[in-house]
Symmetry: C2
Subunit: 397 residues, 2 copies
Amino acid sequence: MLYKKGSALEGVRVLDLGNVIAGPFTTAILADMGASVIKVEKPQGGDNARDNLPKKDGESTYFVNFNRSKKGVTLDLKKGKEIFFRLIERADVVVENFRPGVMEKLGYGYEELKKINSGIIYASVSGFGQNGPYKNRAGYDPLAQAMSGMMSVTGYPGSAPVRAGASVADILAAQNTAIAILAALMYRERTGEGQYIDVSLLDSAILSLSSVNQVYLTDKNNVPQRRGNGYVAGAPGSAYKCADGYVVFLALGEKAWLKLTEIMGRSDLQEMEKYGTNDARVENYLELDAEVEKWTADRTVDEVVSILNRENLPAAPILTVDQVYRDPHVRLREMFTKIKHPKIGEVEITNQAIKMSETCPYVRCSSPLLGEHNMEVYGELGFSREEIENFAEQGVL
Amino acid sequence: MLYKKGSALEGVRVLDLGNVIAGPFTTAILADMGASVIKVEKPQGGDNARDNLPKKDGESTYFVNFNRSKKGVTLDLKKGKEIFFRLIERADVVVENFRPGVMEKLGYGYEELKKINSGIIYASVSGFGQNGPYKNRAGYDPLAQAMSGMMSVTGYPGSAPVRAGASVADILAAQNTAIAILAALMYRERTGEGQYIDVSLLDSAILSLSSVNQVYLTDKNNVPQRRGNGYVAGAPGSAYKCADGYVVFLALGEKAWLKLTEIMGRSDLQEMEKYGTNDARVENYLELDAEVEKWTADRTVDEVVSILNRENLPAAPILTVDQVYRDPHVRLREMFTKIKHPKIGEVEITNQAIKMSETCPYVRCSSPLLGEHNMEVYGELGFSREEIENFAEQGVL
């Protein structure tokens, strides 16, 4: 199958008022799919992520990653109301991730913007959503992981809860927002009506725990706990230490269990009552994992993975980020890509995870410099060069 | 803001050939948004998840959760080619998550189905994608977490890597697939053309690590490591033990650091060179965290959270799944909802994380019993009651 680069969202005009991850990544998805995204930043310093590590020659590549494929303008939202309304007039979608209430205070609530553009799709991403007792709290990924239950089930039994090392709540929320925006565009196509969208990091993290939540929802006496790498559905299934790293594998079901014990030369385990059924193995998983680790300990990761995969047992090495980067499969899937930044040259970033045969998303260009497209974008809105220069002098841009 | 329940995807017809999570959750998102989803299951036992724990009175509520809002039919894909083609004729979207190659072997590759329905949008979700050396490996969430780098950055320094306790790779992949399907529907609206979509758990997990990857992509000598709950952007920022549980908080930047040390009555820390700048604090975070924990240790979680939030410092309790369920904010956000199952009555499940003012997604009905809608769905395709009964007798349904 060939994946032709293309623009599924050609003609869709998006304003990005976002900061850091959740808002900006929502619009990066749309931009890589061909939407025309204008990032609107405050004249002083712009998106806070412009200061985030890592940096190359003083420029944040963190910012570059989450803002590739967009154009950028500056605008003081307090002073530049007329300009902002002109931007809104010509937009299909606006995405913001200020704390709830900030846009309303600026006079840019949904009801206001609707007066300017009745079909506008207005998406707000926040830590906790637009209503409820916690709505005004700051929305950081670690807080969402803490309050969603995610951390309570991540880590080893008896030790402290652990945060997933990636900003999964941010990314999940951005993906949910993108889904909502696309559905809203389809609804507008049919009815002409725009709408308001409210997605939170906390809700998105809770949703990602669906299968874990289900355990508790089904039996309120059963509160899911940390199980290290123990797999709830069957045992053995965990991370095991090898001579040169770690491997993950699962032997789910009777056939896999018998096969694994044969491979390990441990058919004696088959006879033991404590490992006699899957339920028994799940119950005694810590002891069982120690037995399995005796077998992995003096083998390499590659050896264990290839022995098990040959027998059609699911197994994988635990790779570090540099190993992922070099992995031949990941290279072929083109999960990393390069853009050319106007100041610092080539920057490598992570690619989208969607392949499509006719309109495959792709990274189109660098993130914008602060205000890089002021002249172009505001010119298209009908402002003259002189007006734009005046705005800049007055600190509006 | 009022969120009116509605159907953004009204009129979109989806076939779900999925198993377990990634495929079924993709179509559950679409179904909760108003698409008409028909789940097609093998006559013997159906979706493998029908066997998954947890169960209530013998029925898997895990299956119920991922297949709510859908109708269900049975079909032996080998024997029922004619029937399958009729389903395809009337579908807009088909979603499958077999191992790559299985659909082709059945004669149901994209090129084949396109002949039946030229506008079909055909989405494949798999562990590793449709090409590359690992494409034939089984796709379990723990394998994707292992091979994406996720586990390598989750856990404490010096201890084993840890899997995020939720099936985040599955959920991320389902959300990516939903995004791709909606974009493809918009493209088809414009051009009449369908297309093929390929999303993998591995790619989706790698994408969720974007900000972590960026550290390595910017400096190939800097491989991200496990940092426990240490926050890379600033310190202190971690999980801290209280008298009755754990709390997460962050003091990012100078102002927050000064405020926190005042609150803790530890202005002496401000004078120390090892904590003199944010960079220094990030470097000495383990030592610093121990200082902070002296303050949290004899306070309750509620105390610490309310003291810090009062001062506008981001802080959150680490909640267990039952605490999340009872949380007043989560209740107000309606993150859990109930359906009525035809056999086992009321089942509580996790709700979608998207709120929309005009077409808010909602859970419409229970998951189907195996073959529950055979008569209705196949009747609508033009088969008579007698034909359908014959198909069932022959084991086609």
